[in-house]
């Protein structure tokens, strides 16, 4: 019997663009394109799964009727294209036809419970031979759970019996045209994992507000859940790439998660902490080139405006270079974000957040009151920032300022993520100058990164006959240099405002004072 071959689509691009490759480039015939909700049903004891079959209830979002499909390894055993709009809950609700008699017998009068449910876009395509006979069916699927967890795009190749050789040929062509990685997990299983993890994370997150007497482990978990939510919210926007703000928000959430993990020693299970720090670092890294490209595009008009009016026109062609570069970066990033590594790590992360056992007795300080622990970590981060900030001079290398920026971020994120625990006035006293320091350091780094990147991209203009554009670009890079130098020059004063006695004293006042009775 023919077996289904499953692949995760790791190619850049959204559902529609991959579908175009399948139909227009590979010549597959689109048989059906559907959008709607899908649920997989089974008995409470999993009778259908044990029989290696699936029962899928599909509710289209637009026109069309709900349908019920019983299948085994991709082969449809029974299909009813027009059933009631609510899924059957017991065997007697199954369509009263000879076709469903076998299924009814298998369920044996038992109940049917809805398992994972997803919202999906599904395309069914056929690979045809020269007689226009189907040799394989291809199911291309993009789904997300009702909790909003986006599942990897999946592609299943179902060779028809007697056409295994043709299906193998098709797979070779598919692999050449679309980035695929083999997967053993059916979409139903991915949905189950995604839904349970997403749901568990959501439930925990709803009622957990930070209070100073809460245990450190519980507080760290609540903070990570909140950060996870904002990361998940922006994920689909990051993939679509339409709004650079989505990627920015995503990266901020990722950096904050990294900080909370970094400062979670003796609070978080060390093995999990190490694993997720490593994975989040990777996740941050794969998004950096696209964010840098976004910044080039956002700031470029402003930089061009600083040039004399007669030189501005010369940079029109460079804008196209930036756009192309950004598209390349985004495509490469999307491949990583749709990879099996990201999916597995995402599932493991959600499971970790949802798993009570993972947060019980997980570190020496896990059961300590959160306020004491977090104040200690803030004090340490502040001490380090002040010490290194004072060392910065006009001669300090750029790397020293970059390192200092990271230390500042760590402190700021700790303060902001655990903000509900602190005295509001003391917190505001610290955050205002700290953000100023961050802005100055950020401006310094951004101008330097941008100048280097523009220099590199300028190489693409060098081959053109027109030499006016590279000349104008050097004017832009010069402007960046000026801005960077200004930022650096203002560092001492800005840092001085943070390293002020009043601000530093506010660290001692972060613990809210007890109200007098």
């Amino acid at each position: 019997m023919s077996k289904v071959r499953r692949y995760e689509v790791t190619a850049a691009g959204d559902f529609a663009s991959v579908l175009v490759v399948l139909t227009d480039h590979l010549g597959l015939r689109l048989l059906n394109l559907d959008e709607g909700q899908r649920s997989w049903l089974d008995t409470p004891t999993g009778t259908l799964e044990q029989a290696k079959t699936t029962l899928e209830f599909r509710l289209p979002s637009g026109e069309g009727t709900p349908s019920l499909t019983w299948a085994a390894e991709g082969r449809v055993l029974v299909y009813d294209p027009c059933v009631s709009s609510t899924p059957p809950v017991q065997s007697s609700d199954l369509p009263d036809s000879a076709a469903f008699a076998r299924l009814t017998a298998l369920v044996d009068g038992g109940q049917l419970v809805a398992g994972p449910t997803v919202n999906s876009q599904i395309a069914v395509l056929a690979c045809l031979d020269d007689e226009e006979k189907t040799t394989a069916r291809i199911i291309f699927d993009r789904s997300e759970t009702l909790d909003g967890v986006t599942l990897p795009m999946m592609l299943e190749v179902l060779p028809l019996r007697g056409y295994e050789d043709e299906a193998s040929e098709l797979e070779k062509k598919l692999k050449r045209s679309v980035a695929l990685s083999a997967s053993a997990t059916p979409i139903r299983e991915l949905a189950k994992q995604g839904a349970s993890a997403g749901r568990a994370a959501g439930i925990e997150n709803d009622g957990t507000a930070l209070v100073s007497t809460m245990s450190a482990a519980r507080s760290w978990r609540a903070v990570l859940q909140t950060l996870n939510d904002s990361m998940v919210q922006s994920f689909s926007g990051v993939l679509s790439g339409n709004d650079p703000e989505d990627l920015h928000a995503f990266r901020v959430a990722v950096r904050r998660i990294r900080t909370i993990l970094q400062d979670g020693d003796d609070v978080i299970d060390p093995e999990s902490r190490d694993r997720f720090r490593h994975e989040y670092r990777w996740l941050g890294d794969v998004t950096t080139p696209t964010r840098d490209a976004d910044v080039h595009l956002i700031e470029f008009p402003e930089l061009v405006a600083m040039l004399p009016p007669e030189r501005r026109e010369e940079l029109v062609s460079f804008n196209a270079v930036l756009l192309r570069h950004r598209a390349d970066c985004h495509a490469a990033m999307a491949v990583e974000l749709r990879s099996m590594r990201r999916a597995e790590f995402g599932t493991a992360w959600l499971s970790f957040l949802a798993d009570d056992d993972a947060w019980t007795g997980c570190g020496d300080l896990a059961d300590e009151p959160v306020l004491r622990i977090v104040l200690r970590r803030i004090e340490k981060a502040n001490r380090q920032l002040v010490k290194n900030g004072r060392k910065i001079s006009k001669k300090s290398p750029a790397i020293a300022l970059h390192e200092l920026r990271k230390e500042g971020k760590r402190l700021r994120y700790l303060l902001e993520c655990f903000a509900p625990l602190f005295d509001e006035k003391a917190l505001a006293t610290i955050l205002r100058p700290l953000r100023d320091v961050q802005d100055v350091l950020g401006e310094f780094q951004d101008t330097e990164v941008q100048a280097n990147a523009l220099l590199e991209l300028a190489g693409e203009l060098a081959s053109a006959d027109d030499h006016s554009a590279p000349m104008a670009l050097s004017g832009v890079i010069e402007q960046l240099g000026v801005r960077g130098a200004d930022a650096r020059a203002s560092f001492a004063k800005t840092f001085g405002s943070f390293d002020d006695r009043k601000v530093q004293r506010a660290f001692d006042q972060l613990e809210p004072r007890k109200k007098k009775r």
Binding site: L77, A98, A99, F100, A101, A126, K133, R161, G162, Y163
Partner: protein, 248 residues
């Protein structure tokens, strides 16, 4: 697994259309169905767009050197598979004649897939020969499309007589005759149908009309129900299938 053979000594009576359309109806009802094209013309193979090429040849299946399962091709319809025929099937009688126990060859081959299918349709070539006798041994029922004309009546009665005279060969075989290619506008068709029903009350009630929709199967290369769902012939095959089930 029930084995149904579409059979008539006479050609051009709608055997292949019956096999293909009933198989399609049966599969659409959720049954697991196999069509075995035994006719060297390969019309059923053509209707399902399958290439008329059998790996190892029909000879290998008959001789037992090729498992029937290895020759099966899925059609474009769920639960409906086909064993295609090629032109070499014109030698089917010779292959059977050369084989040991020729009368049980087809039955033995089908036994290999008996767990996989609920119904098998054998699309037989028109003749009465060793192949036919082998089919009679393998089948549970013969579906005999009969045009309401003198010659068809004659061949139906020839078959009836053959079955009566060879009880050992046909054993439990049921003969399910039905009128095919019926043109109710023709007085002659109506008269023959009445006469034949009086003489043979066992004939099925359902009739298949003479319809261009059925002829268009060759253009569409698929069963009537696939391109003309709800059409008169599609409904006729549905009715025929449901009556056949009550007789099995």
């Amino acid at each position: 697994m029930k084995v149904l053979a579409t059979y008539n000594i006479k050609g051009g009576v709608g055997k292949t259309a019956t096999a293909v359309n009933l198989a399609h109806v049966a599969a659409a009802h959720g049954n697991r169905v196999l069509v075995w094209d035994l006719d060297p013309q390969g019309a059923a193979t053509f209707y399902f767009r399958v290439k008329p090429k059998v790996k190892g040849g029909g000879k290998a299946i008959v001789r037992g050197s090729l498992e029937l399962g290895d020759a099966i091709k899925a059609t474009d319809f769920d639960n409906l598979d086909l064993v295609p025929a090629d032109f070499s099937y014109r030698h089917l009688d010779l292959w059977l004649d050369d084989a040991k126990k020729p009368l049980v060859r087809i039955r033995s081959a089908l036994r290999q897939v008996s767990e996989e299918y609920d119904y098998v349709f054998l699309d037989c070539p028109p003749s009465i020969s060793l192949t036919s006798e082998s089919v009679f041994r393998a089948a549970d029922a013969l579906l005999v499309p009969t045009i309401p004309t003198t010659l068809s009546l004659r061949t139906y009665e020839q078959l009836d007589r053959f079955v009566e005279e060879n009880p050992d060969m046909v054993r439990e075989l049921k003969i399910l005759g039905f009128f095919s290619m019926v043109d109710r506008h023709k007085r002659l068709h109506r008269r023959f149908m009445n006469d034949l029903r009086t003489a043979h009350p066992e004939l099925l009630e359902a009739t298949i009309p003479n319809s261009t929709d059925i002829e268009r199967m060759g253009v569409h290369r698929e069963p009537v129900g696939a391109y003309g769902k709800g059409s008169k012939p599609a409904r006729a095959y549905e009715a025929l299938w449901s009556e056949i089930q009550t007789r099995l």
